[in-house]
Structures are given as C-alpha cells and as structure tokens.
C-alpha cells in the first residue's frame, strides 16, 4: 500500500513539476497580450479622481465604447475596465470592486453568456489574467478553481511551448514595433481598445449561447450591487452590444435574461434591443464593435445615462 502511494506520488510529481515550470516561466513575447492591459487599467482606476464612471464587463465593453466622448458629454472621468468575458463575471466584478469609491458610477454590461450555466465563474482566459496579475489569486474561489482547473495543464504547456519558441526565434524579431490588436498597448488612455477602429469588418460566425439561466449569477450581481451601494456608489446595468444575426439566434434566452434581471431591484438602463445592431457595425465577433459601431453604442448609452443621471 505504502509502496503504491509512494510510486503514485513520484509519478504525479513529475507531471506537477512540468506544469509548475510552465506556469512560472516569464512571458517573453515581444508584445504581451491585452490581458496585461489590466495593469494599466488598475493604475487608471487608482489615479483617476472621483467621482468617476467605470465601464465594466467582458470584451463587449473593451471593444464597445469611446470613453472620451462619454467623458466630454458627462463632464466626468471615465475608465473602461472591460477586457475579456472569459474571465467570468465574478472575477471581473471582484477585480473592479476595490477601486469603486464614493459617488462613482459603475456601468456593468455583462455578456449574455454569463447568465448561462457556470460561465460566470470564468474559463481558460482567467488563467491569462492571473498570470498578468498574480495578486488577483486572492479573488479566486473554490468554484472558480474547479471551473478553470481543467485548463491549467494545457495552459502551462502552451506557455512552455511559447517560451521556447520565443527564446529561439523571437530574438531576431525584437525590432518589431507595430502594435497589433489584442495586445497590451492596443488600448487608449481611457482603456478602450481603439486600435481596430479604422479596420474593416472581418468574417465571423454567429454565436449560440442558448441555455438554462443560472440563478446564482443574479444573486451574485445582487450581492455586488449592495456592496457598491454600501460604498456610496451606484451600479447601473446596461445591455451588451450584440450583432443582429446572433441576437435573433438567441432571442428567447435574451428575453429570459431580461425578465430575470427585472425581478431584482437593479438600476437597468435601456433594453437589449437598443443594443442589437446590424452585423456591419461589428469587427471580428458578434460582441466586438468596429469604429462606427463604437460611436453608435456610445451615443445610445449616453442617451440612457443622461436620462438616469438627470
């Protein structure tokens, strides 16, 4: 028996060491991914004097607004905190909460998929964010760990692969200076991803997120809403932008999510239909707006915000 356990531990240790090495290897990419923009966004949230308006959510927010227009119109500083829906709503809100101060306004635009199954707990991208900001491990619950654990080995192997590849080949390409989309510096001083604003629409598939709504998500938003309120700030919920083809594919689920949200005492601004735009307003996914789409959504949000903030 002891022999069996000893052997099993030795065998597992070999595997574990391999995973750990992959996790702690430094990021030697010539351009770091947009996940690392979280560091700049945190600096921005910390340094911006309040009361400020914080836009948060997944990549529909990162790719969804021109914060400069909002800031000029509302005469208040704006920070775009959105990065990736794959982090999960729980992580996104846990991450932004410490930066919320008295009289701040938090506009949350959660992706619809957050409300389905356990998506709000995050997926593989959450590991990228934790690599960018390891201190955020403190926000990770057992349920989140359970949800993302299956991705850890693959994530670690990919990091090792990328590290070796960059170590061998990238030393010659260090002169590369053009910033690409989805990289750390593809964002402007407000936190909006603006590098793609002049790019043409790319082909993308419709997104089917139909499924059963998880009530835990609503309870979680409710809890966060109360915490924000207790800080003397306000939480407003706005719907994400979604291209028409995907909207129609998921119309029942969207309707159900809207009904569920209405059951709580949330400050909801606008309706899902207000943010359902023709497909040509989108860049490379059903949630990511292009330059034109960003203006359209920003103006729509401004109309609704002005109404609420009157």
């Amino acid at each position: 028996m002891n022999f069996f356990i000893k052997r099993s531990i030795i065998f597992a240790s070999g595997f574990l060491i391999f995973i750990i090495v992959g996790l702690i290897l430094p990021n030697n990419n010539s351009q770091r991914s947009v996940d690392y923009s979280l560091l700049a966004k945190h600096d921005l949230l910390e340094s911006t004097k309040g009361p400020k308006l914080i836009l948060t959510g997944g990549s529909n927010v990162l790719f969804g607004f021109n914060s400069e227009i909002i800031s000029n119109e509302l005469k208040m500083p704006v920070v775009n905190h959105g990065i990736h829906a794959g982090y999960g709503l729980k992580y996104i809100l846990d991450d932004v909460l410490p930066f919320v101060k008295k009289n701040d306004i938090v506009v949350l635009s959660p992706e619809y998929s957050f409300f389905i199954d356990k998506n709000y707990l995050g997926k593989e991208p959450l590991l990228f964010s934790l690599t960018a900001k390891p201190e955020n491990l403190k926000h990770i619950s057992f349920s989140q760990l359970s949800q993302i654990s299956q991705f850890i080995p693959k994530f670690s192997f990919n990091r090792t692969k990328s590290f070796i590849f960059n170590a061998i080949f990238n030393s010659k390409n260090n002169s590369e200076s053009t910033i690409s989309n989805y990289t750390e510096f593809a964002i402007n001083k407000y936190g909006d991803h603006n590098l793609h604003w002049d790019n043409n629409k790319l082909n993308f598939d419709s997104y089917d997120f139909n499924g059963a709504i998880n009530n835990d998500v609503l309870l979680f938003i409710n809890k966060i809403s109360k915490e924000i309120k207790s800080k003397g700030a306000r939480l407003l919920i706005a719907y994400p932008s979604l291209c028409k083809s995907s909207f129609e594919l998921n119309s029942n689920t969207v309707e159900n999510i809207e009904l569920e949200l209405k059951k709580y005492n949330f400050n909801i601004i606008g309706t899902p239909k207000n943010y359902c735009f023709e497909d040509y307003y989108f860049f490379d996914s059903p949630y990511h707006l292009n330059g034109q789409g960003v203006i359209k959504r920003t103006n729509q949000l401004l109309i609704e915000l002005k109404e609420v903030l009157k």
Binding site: F3, R7, S146, F157
Partner: protein, 477 residues
C-alpha cells in the same frame, strides 16, 4: 460529480486514503464510508436525487427479505411484483411518462382529435436506468433462489449506490457485486495499478476521442442539410467513436476505480468495433445490459427455444426494449429494431455464435475475409447510430438518404482532426484486443521507464488535445 472534473480529482484520492488507512479495520465501517461517499458523489448533481435512490434501496432491501420469508410461491411473487412495480414505476414517471403522453396526443391528432394530455415537468435523475436495473436484479435473483437476501442494510445500500458504477454502469448483478461487500478487501498492488491504468485509458477515450468527436458531430447533425454526403458520413463515423469513447471510457474509469477499492466489476466493452457480425457486436457492446436483458427478459420469454415465430418475436422484443431503455424517443426504438433486423438472419440460420473467438486470433494482422466482415459489421452499426444520434426519425431518414449521394466522393466540409485520434485508438486497441482494456500490461514485458513514458504521453495528450468538458452521453439514460 463527473469523473473528468476537478471535484472528482480531489474526491477520489480523499476517499481512497480514508478507505485504506482510516476505515480499513472494520468491514461495516468501510462499507459505510463507501455508502456516504457514493451519496456525496450522487448528491453532487442534485441532492434531491438521493431521495429516489434511498427509497428504491429501502423497498428492495425489504422485498428481498420478504420474498425469502414467504412460504408460498404466490406470496413470493407478490413481493417481487411490488418491487418491480415500484422500480419500473419510477422509470415510468421520470423517464417515459411524457413520451407516452405526447405519443398519445399525436396519435389522436392523426385522427382529428385533440387531447389535452398531461406532461410532467420533472428532471430525469442521473443514472436512474442503471441503478434501477441493478437493484431489480437483486430481487429477481432472490426470487429465483440464486441469492440469499442480505440482512446487512449498509452493504445493500452501498451495493445499490456504489459510486464508480452508479450513474452509467456497468450494471452489476447482485450475485457478483453484493457478496464482495461481505468480504474484507485486501489492498492488491497489481490490481490497484492496473485500475489506475484503466482509468487513464478511460479518460483518454472520453476526453481525447469522444469530446473531440462531439464537436464535429454536433456541428454536422445540427446542420445536416448544409453538408455534402462525405461530411455526413464523417459525422456518423465520428459519432460511432464518440459514443464508444464516451461510454466505454466511462466503463473503464468505473472498473478501474472499483479496482482501487478492491472490487471487481464485470467487463462492459470488449473491443466491439472489431466484431465480425452483429451477434458478436452485441456480445462485446454494453455487455452488462445485453446480458441483463438476456437473463431477465429473453430467457424468461422462451429465448430461442421455441419455433421461428417465437425466436423472431423474442428477438424483436429484446432489441426494442433495449432501444427504449436508452430513452423515450422513437429514434431509440428504431435503433433497437434495426439491430434486431441485422441480428435475425444470423439467429435463424443458426450462425449467431460462429464468431466467439477474437478476431485474427494469434495473428498480428487481420485476414482479408475477416477484414471485410469487420468493415461490413461496422458500417451496419454506423447506419443504426444515425438513428440513435438524430433528434427525430425524420432527421435520421433524411440524413441517411443524403449520405447515399454522389457527393460521398467529395472532400468533407468539416475538420477531420479527430480522425488522427481515432486511428491511434484503433491501433492501440487492436494490439490489446486480447486483454481487458487498452493499457493492460499483465503479459507484456515492458519495463517501467517505457511504461511511464506511455502514461505521460497519454496524460499530455489528454490535456493538450482534450476538447471542452462534456457530460457523458449515457448519463441521460
């Protein structure tokens, strides 16, 4: 709790250590630990499911005792009937009620009458068909005097809910599994290591084969009208390996896990896609269910002892019931009937037991004749799988019709990446076809470093190529 989940990754070693180190002195305590662990495992899905399994266990525990105590055959039969009614009643309510209600409504609609039928808004408890059949085998065997009823409720409850095989089998016979709860288990290094190897092979089949195939299968079956014939063929082919990887993978994990705890479960799959005829296929596919139906339905009906009409009737009954066991949908019934049609000629010509040995026995390569037989048998099962996978009969018919078109020779319009994994699976299982599972090394002289490299490579493949986690298909049954 899913076998391929983080929770199970923590749960299994925890229970294992408690079982062998802390609870190993007294057998009843060790069984109690298994019972509690099994209820935690099952309740992880939904704690409400527990009420059903507890109730079912209580009923069958007492029915077993009363059957044994009864003085007359009539009273024994009454207790058995009660047990059957309650078990099948659960299945009827939770699994089949809505199907019958809906079918009745549709039948009346065909005659112009609109019935206001009742449908139940209930969730199907995971694995209900598996543990119901397992516990029914107990009362039937007690009734048939093949087994003495147990007076140990903990052993019996642990037998009904034994977590490795609770939700998707193998469906164990009380005569095989229950006595193992009465005997003190001793840790056996070889058995436990082989159990771990079987778990690893099961995980590979589930995560690398089944889950990767599932992505393409869903894509093709959901949009089958958009694809050419070769793509539809790929969809059906991948489904054949998805369901095999999924279900036999689960069985491997279940059997391997049970071995870690000192239990022996029956083999559930014996490399069925190497079968040379349908009769052989059914001796190798879901063995625990096929033999259950053989022993508790087919033989009591007269089996193949009567005349031709009797044989045909019994064969159809057994296959259709088997199809219906899988789900309340006409697609499963037709799948069963199709297999009966495949099987009948063999039975009537008395050729259903000609291939009882292993294919290419004592040879490395398969002969031409056997290869043709294996391919034909596989293609027949493939056709039947389309019914099994399709959401309704009309989709299945159109799907099959569209496969038989000129575009079968064109390039598939979906990724064929899973084909690489399927080839690997077939290669390994071909080499291992004389063993119980793909990683059994009992007679191989492979030294440890090489074995460990094989394990590491498989683990790497599981994480590297593993697709997004999917539930096991057979949980819905």
């Amino acid at each position: 709790m899913l076998f391929n989940s983080f929770e199970y990754f923590l749960f299994l070693p925890f229970v294992f250590l408690l079982y062998w180190f802390l609870f190993n002195k007294i057998l009843t305590i060790q069984n109690l630990l298994l019972l509690v662990a099994s209820y935690v495992f099952y309740g992880w899905w939904d704690w409400r499911f527990l009420s059903l399994i507890v109730f079912s266990s209580i009923i069958d525990y007492y029915c077993g005792i009363f059957i044994d105590k009864a003085n007359t055959k009539t009273i024994k039969k009454q207790w058995l009937t009660l047990s059957m009614l309650i078990n099948l009643g659960f299945l009827g309510v939770f699994k089949y009620f809505n199907f019958f209600s809906q079918s009745l409504k549709e039948a009346f609609l065909n005659f112009g009458y609109e019935l206001d039928t009742l449908t139940l808004n209930v969730i199907l408890p995971v694995g209900i068909s598996f543990y119901t059949f397992q516990t029914m085998s107990y009362t039937i065997d007690v009734y048939r005097n093949k087994l003495k009823p147990t007076k140990d409720p903990i052993a019996f409850f642990a037998f009904v809910s034994f977590f490795p095989q609770l939700v998707a089998g193998p469906i164990e016979r009380a005569t095989n599994l229950l006595p193992q709860f009465y005997e003190k288990r001793k840790f056996d290094y070889d058995k436990a290591s082989d159990g771990l190897r079987q778990i690893l092979w099961g995980l590979f089949k589930k995560i690398v084969i089944a889950d990767n195939c599932a992505i393409i299968v869903n894509q093709v079956f959901d949009n089958y009208t958009d694809y050419n014939a070769s793509t539809l063929f790929i969809g059906a082919l991948f489904f054949a390996f998805q369901i095999y990887g999924d279900f036999s993978g689960y069985s491997d994990i279940a059997i391997g896990t049970a071995r870690l705890f000192g239990f022996n479960l029956m083999q559930n799959f014996a490399f069925p896609y190497f079968s040379r005829d349908i009769a052989e296929f059914w001796r190798r596919w879901h063995i625990s269910l096929s033999t259950w139906f053989r022993d508790y339905v087919y033989i009591p009906l007269g089996g193949s002892r009567g005349g031709t009409v009797m044989k045909v009737r019994n064969t159809f009954i057994i296959f259709i019931v088997s199809g219906f066991w899988h789900g309340a949908n006409w697609t499963f019934i037709i799948w069963g009937a199709l297999n009966a049609i495949y099987f009948l000629p063999l039975l009537l010509l008395n050729r259903n037991r000609i291939n009882t040995n292993n294919v290419a026995e004592n040879k490395l390569f398969i002969g031409f004749k056997e290869l043709v037989q294996v391919v034909i048998t596989f293609l027949l099962t493939l056709l039947a799988w389309v019914f099994f996978r399709a959401p309704n009969v009309s989709t299945a018919v159109h799907y099959i019709k569209d496969i038989f078109s000129a575009s079968i020779l064109s390039m598939p319009e979906v990724s064929i990446k899973p084909l690489f994994f399927i080839i690997l699976l077939v290669f390994v299982e071909w080499l291992q076809r004389n063993y119980k599972h793909g990683l059994e090394f009992s007679n191989h002289k492979i030294n440890r470093p090489i074995r460990w490299v094989i394990y590491y490579v498989l683990i790497l493949m599981i994480f590297w190529f593993g697709a997004e986690k999917q539930e096991f298909i057979y949980f819905q049954f």
